[in-house]
Structures are given as C-alpha cells and as structure tokens.
C-alpha cells in the first residue's frame, strides 16, 4: 500500500535514526512511503497550548497538502501524530473553527475538507500489514532479547480507540511474535516529561529515572520507544541521572522500528543504529542467551 509520509522536524535532526529505520521497515515490507511535499512543522504542544487558531491553521496546512493525494498520512513522531490527529478531531467537531482555518489556508490556495486519516506507523504495521505477515518476513529472530516496551503518552492518549489506554499491547504482541521476551513494565505509558527536560529539568530527570529504573529492575536489555522526545530524554540524560540519583545502569534506548528493522535483516547502518548514544548489539545478546 501507499502512504503519505510526514517525517516531522525531529526526524530530520535529533531523531534521524527514527526516520532511517521507519523508511527501512516500510520498504522491506513492500509498503511505499511518499514524502508529503513542502510539509511544515505541526506546531507541537507548544503552539497548540498557546495560540489556538493559528496552531490549528499551521497543522491543517499539512492535512490540506496531504488531501491532494488522498492517502493516509503516517506520522512517526508521537507529538506530530497527536497534534495532527487532534486538529482533525477539532475541525470535525467545530464548524466555526473549520471555517476560520480554511479562510486562512485560502491565502495559499489551499483548503481542507476533513478527508485525511492521520496514523502512527506502529498502528499501520500492526493493523494494515499484520503481525503474522511481519513475523513471516523476519530474517532473524529476536529470541532471548528482553525488552521493556515503552509507549509513552501521546500514542494512546487521549482516546484514539487504537489500543488499551492503560496497558497497550501493540508493541508487546509485535515483538513477542519475533521471539523477544517482554519484561514486566508497569511504566509503559508513564510520562517522560517531554519538554520539561528543558524548562524544569529536576522534575523531568526524576520522571526519567523512575522509568529507567523500572525497566532495569525488571531485567530489560533494551527499551523501545515510539517517540523522538521520549527517546532523547531517556537516552541522552542517563549520565545526569546516574550522577544525580546514583543509579548504576546504562540501558540502550531504541526506536521500535530500529529493533524491528534488525529482525527484518537490516544492517545497523541502514537503521541508524550508529547514531544511538548507548549501543546495542543483537549478536552479543543472543550469544549470552
């Protein structure tokens, strides 16, 4: 199938490895991602929570551009996904807002008629392609790899009806089918603090410590995430957490598509694994197991 692809700003910079691995996974499963031409920043939580109409306009510009092609819009960043999804929801339910948005979009000869479906790659892989098909295409099993599946906030919340909001299972089921062992991980949907790492770092460091500690204590070799912000918070601040809370772990944090890419036979370079700050090597772990 073909999908319109909305990489989002992070995937062009700090989360390049997410972009590389998403593209690899879709390609190796025979799915086509067509880049949305001239997409702009979704506005993220920051715009949405400060200026309402403008935030909806800039987010809807992407939906309007996608509407020219009609394909579902795939957004890997949890924040982009939430914002684009929410924009759709608000415009569907608030006709005044929709009129305002379209009036602004007219300045660029665009209009949005609410026909685009916003989707996250995890859900596309599980629902459209199917776990069985993916497992049958796997070239190497992840047997014995102990994974803490970290979903974060914005992929299941607020209500999308995609998965259980308190205990989502999509990633768990996908990786179980590939042979991995999902560790007990009650923090799977706990918040990493997002941008609080910049504004109130003490609060964010503690949130991240709790999540990492929980994964470590339950024996995880690896934490998988679906969000660029979660990934960088959990990975890049481990040293600070170590210093502040005297913890003694160093846990690799990977995008779920990187681990899936390994199972699909991708080499570490293609999957951007060299960009991760804390390395994880599949073979070593398998030898241990």
């Amino acid at each position: 199938m073909e999908y319109t692809y909305y990489p989002g700003c992070s995937l062009e910079a700090s989360a390049k490895n997410y972009d590389e691995s998403v593209r690899f996974v879709f390609k190796s499963l025979g799915q086509e991602l067509v880049d949305l031409e001239d997409w702009n920043c979704c506005g993220a939580t920051y715009y949405m929570s400060t200026k309402e109409t403008i935030s909806l306009v800039i987010s809807a510009r992407n939906l309007a551009l996608a509407e020219k092609h009609g394909r579902d819009l795939v957004a890997p960043c949890s924040s982009c996904y939430t914002i684009l999804y929410k924009t759709n929801h608000i415009l569907k339910n608030n006709s005044i807002m929709k009129a305002k948005v379209n009036q602004a979009l007219r300045k660029e000869k665009l209009s949005y008629n609410l026909t685009i479906k916003v989707r996250h790659p995890l859900e596309v892989l599980v629902n459209d392609i199917g776990i069985e098909t993916i497992a049958s295409k796997a070239r190497c099993r992840l047997d014995g790899v102990k994974i803490a599946q970290y979903y974060g906030c914005q992929i299941v919340r607020p209500d999308r009806g995609l998965d259980n909001k308190e205990n989502p299972k999509m990633m768990d089921n996908l990786f179980a089918a590939l042979g991995a062992q999902n560790v007990y991980f009650p923090m799977k949907v706990r918040c990493c603090g997002g941008m609080l790492m910049t504004t109130y770092s003490d609060v964010a460091l503690e949130l991240n410590k709790d999540i990492l500690e929980c994964a470590h204590e339950n024996g995880a070799d690896l934490v998988l995430t679906t969000c660029p912000l979660c990934q960088i918070n959990l990975e890049a601040y481990q040293k600070k957490i170590k210093k502040k809370f005297k913890t003694d772990f160093s846990l690799p944090i990977m995008f779920f598509t990187q681990a899936l890419g390994l199972a699909l036979g991708g080499d570490p370079k293609e999957l951007g694994l060299e960009r991760n700050l804390i390395p994880f090597e599949l073979k070593e772990k398998r030898a241990e197991a």
């Binding site: 700003c9 910079a13 700090s14 390049k16 001239d38 997409w39 702009n40 920043c41 506005g43 939580t45 920051y46 715009y47 929570s49 400060t50 200026k51 309402e52 109409t53 403008i54 306009v57 800039i58 510009r61 929801h89 608000i90 569907k92 339910n93 608030n94 005044i96 807002m97 305002k100 948005v101 009036q103 602004a104 979009l105 007219r106 300045k107 660029e108 906030c153 914005q154 919340r157 607020p158 209500d159 909001k165 308190e166 949907v189 706990r190 918040c191 603090g193 997002g194 941008m195 609080l196 910049t198 504004t199 109130y200 609060v203 949130l207 890049a236 060299e274 960009r275 991760n276 700050l277």
Partner: protein
C-alpha cells in the same frame, strides 16, 4: 489572591476582572469539542492522583476546577500548575466524568498568556515563544536555534553544561546545524497573518 478576598466579601457576585476572565475562559472552553464536560466534575481527585507531576504543583488539577467554580480564575492563572503540565493526558483518560483536564489547562495557559500573567523571563513562556518564532520564520522547527535562544534569555550559563551532549549528538549526526525551510515561506507567513487576525475573531453565539 486579591480576587479570592473579593469573592469572600461579596459571595456569589463576581468582580469586573473576575467576570472578564471567566468569559474569556468559557469562550476558550467552548472551542474544545466536549469542553462543557467541566460542569460534570465531582471533585474526586482522580486527575491529581494520575498526574505524574502533581507533586510539584502549587495547585493540583482538582483544585484548579474547584477554584474556577469559586470564580477565582486569577489565582489559577498565577499558579505554576498550568505551566508544568507535560501534556501526558493521564488525567483526561482516567476522569470518570469525561472532563478534558489537559485541554482545560491549555485554555487557562492561553488565557494567562493573553493577560500576560507570568514572571519575566519565565522559562516555559520563553521556550514557547522561541519555538513559535522559528516555526513562523522557517515553517519548520530548528532545534539548535531553539535551545540557544531559550538559554540566552533564561540562563546562559546552562549552555556550558550542554556542551558535552551537544558534541556527542553532533558526532552522531543528530544535530541539524542549518535550519530547514519550507519552500513557500512567503505564502506561509501570509497564512499566519490571516490566522492571527482570525484568532481575535470571536464568534457570536446564537441565542
């Protein structure tokens, strides 16, 4: 707090400022699909209990709704609460009454910005503003510029502490040194200008 005292003096009657704030807030809430659910709050405290950062708040999410009902929006707007919410939506999905707590906090945040109720060089506001400026200029976010602009305006010494991480990320090719721009930055700013005007337009509700 002044407003709270006034409420005590004249129970049931809102002062001019209080009424103004209440009206602006209700307008914000009316734009949220399902926003009227705020009426159904039973003050159970599930929101506060579910919030991963409520322990750092001066007013908890449950108290926010109680204060709104008491007519004291000013106290909410000058609290730390609306700025510390990390948008995780845990409160929203757990609320037994379907109150959209996160969206209500956003509405209050927008109101605080509109009324300029926050300290000078306030970190969350500075970061939002820097983010918005880059997005408006390039059509895309620009991570290094964002951190630089934010640090210079809040605490430049923080930049020193970020140097090791900066080098580490840049050696992995994870810093986008140059800003990426969209093609139509000119037409994009046209859209923004129009949207800015529309932001001010208040729809007249039919009776």
């Amino acid at each position: 707090m002044k407003a709270a005292k006034q409420v005590l003096k004249t129970p049931g009657i809102l002062g001019k400022k209080e009424k103004e704030l209440k009206d602006s807030f209700l307008l914000q809430v009316s734009n949220i699909p399902g926003g009227e659910s705020i009426n159904k709050c039973i003050q159970c405290g599930t929101c506060t209990g579910s919030c991963p950062v409520s322990y750092t708040m001066d007013i908890t999410p449950r108290e926010v709704i109680a204060l709104f009902r008491a007519g004291d929006i000013e106290t909410i707007l000058s609290s730390r609460t609306i700025w510390i919410c990390a948008s995780c939506y845990a409160c929203t999905i757990r609320c037994p009454q379907g109150v959209l707590v996160t969206d209500i906090l956003y509405a209050l945040k927008r109101l605080a910005i509109e009324q300029k109720i926050f300290p000078k060089r306030f970190p969350v506001y500075v970061l939002s503003k820097a983010f918005i400026n880059f997005t408006n200029r390039y059509g895309r976010s620009y991570e290094p510029g964002l951190i630089l602009a934010y640090s210079l305006k809040t605490n430049p010494f923080k930049l020193l502490g970020m140097i090791p991480l900066f080098f580490k990320l840049s050696s992995k090719g994870r810093i986008g040194f140059l800003p990426k721009k969209i093609k139509g930055t000119k037409t994009f700013s046209g859209i923004l200008k129009e949207a800015e005007i529309l932001e001010m337009v208040v729809p007249v509700k039919e009776a």
